[in-house]
Symmetry: C2
Subunit: 204 residues, 2 copies
DNA sequence: ATAATTTTTGACCATTTAGTCAAAATATAA
DNA sequence: TTATATTTTGACTAAATGGTCAAAAATTAT
């Protein structure tokens, strides 16, 4: 039986999670200090620990929240209409999501780089299921002759790779192009170009 | 005037750099401890500090080494023959490189996630030059009608994104596919599929 | 062999960090 | 208003961490 959370509880927990997401995104679990998070959440460290008993608990919460948001986005994606429409729509959604959840995306990258010690079991279940369903869909398109006979998993990886690249490497992209992710025009152009290349790459 | 380095110096410095690359790749600068590196390099911490005065010095050395290797790989890539040949050859080289230098690649990712505080000036010079040269080459292909009129920078980003994805996310890939980067067949297949999709995506 | 030099390390220090705790401040209920 | 429960924090602790140092061990030169 979970204890009912007061208004303050809900607000402050969220404030902490938001702050923690930003700091963990930059420095990973080991590289992040509770002081950094506390400062970013505008509260004292003991107060932070009043809401989350340990650094690990907080980190796990951040990870789960992030993964759930991501899976939510993926599940929202419905196979509707042609391969062209579906893939185009998926890239679009993933691009928007990566921009709006860039910090979560980076927490995720950090976790993967560390060998995904807190995530392996989650990856192995929900995500695996999602991927195998997608593979079936893509195989269907290949059979019906809608797209080229590529190995589906690599199409999926390619889409993930590119969309995440724009979220995770924004520093590099900014240095090289002078453009920010917040630059609507640049981001739209990126999305358009990538979508065009991927669609041409697989459609028959 | 640099002091001439003894045989022991050269060997041990390299041993430390190799160990440090692995640990920094996993945990980033802040998340890595000198003890971890010392243990991985099979020596005591004071001994490690005898070769590199501070953690930062060691980290900078690792970063520079990595970046130079990467730039070396990029520069090795010559524009020769058709767009198809050149792009195909580039993807191939980048794939091989990403696999053989996966740890360096991840150190790089960590640095970028932290906002590239030690790297910004380097990125802004060598890499920027390289990119602008490549953009010219690609624009040439567009003018001559060899490839579709895409914005060159996004083609470059796409190639980087995908090749690095296989190096950086190997944990995720292993969980989802059961295949390792070391699995020659799997890697070859990945390379073949990605190359095919990208080439089809841009060639006229 | 022995003197000079380089390499290695145990013991140590100052600082940082995750986490505790009792008490103060604040909000809520009576 | 007063009693009760919740929230907040200053002061603290134990462990970890980057770095020092003097002396020991090993290597090199004479």
């Amino acid at each position: 039986m979970e204890k009912q959370k007061s208004r303050t509880q809900v607000i402050n927990r969220q404030k902490i999670i938001d702050a923690a997401t930003r700091v963990f995104a930059k420095y990973g679990f080991n590289g992040t200090t509770l002081d950094q998070i506390a400062i970013m959440a505008s509260m004292s460290k003991p107060n932070l620990l009043y809401y989350f008993k340990t650094k690990r608990t907080l980190y796990r919460t951040v990870l789960e929240d992030t993964l759930n948001q991501w899976l939510g986005c993926l599940k929202e994606w419905q196979v509707e209409g042609s391969a062209r429409q579906t893939i185009s729509n998926y890239i679009d959604k993933k691009f928007e999501f990566s921009r709006d959840h860039a910090f979560g995306s980076r927490v995720f990258v950090n976790e993967i780089l560390e060998g995904a010690p807190n995530l392996k079991y989650l990856l192995g279940e929900d995500l695996k299921l999602f991927v195998s369903q997608n593979i079936l869909t893509i195989k269907g398109w290949i059979k019906s002759g809608e797209i080229e006979p590529i190995e589906p998993i690599h199409l999926i990886f390619m889409i993930w790779a590119v969309t995440q690249h724009y979220a995770d490497f924004s520093t590099q992209i900014e240095t090289l192009t002078g453009k920010t992710l917040a630059d609507k025009d640049f981001y739209q152009e990126a999305k358009k170009n990538i979508t065009q290349m991927i669609l041409r790459g697989v459609l028959k």
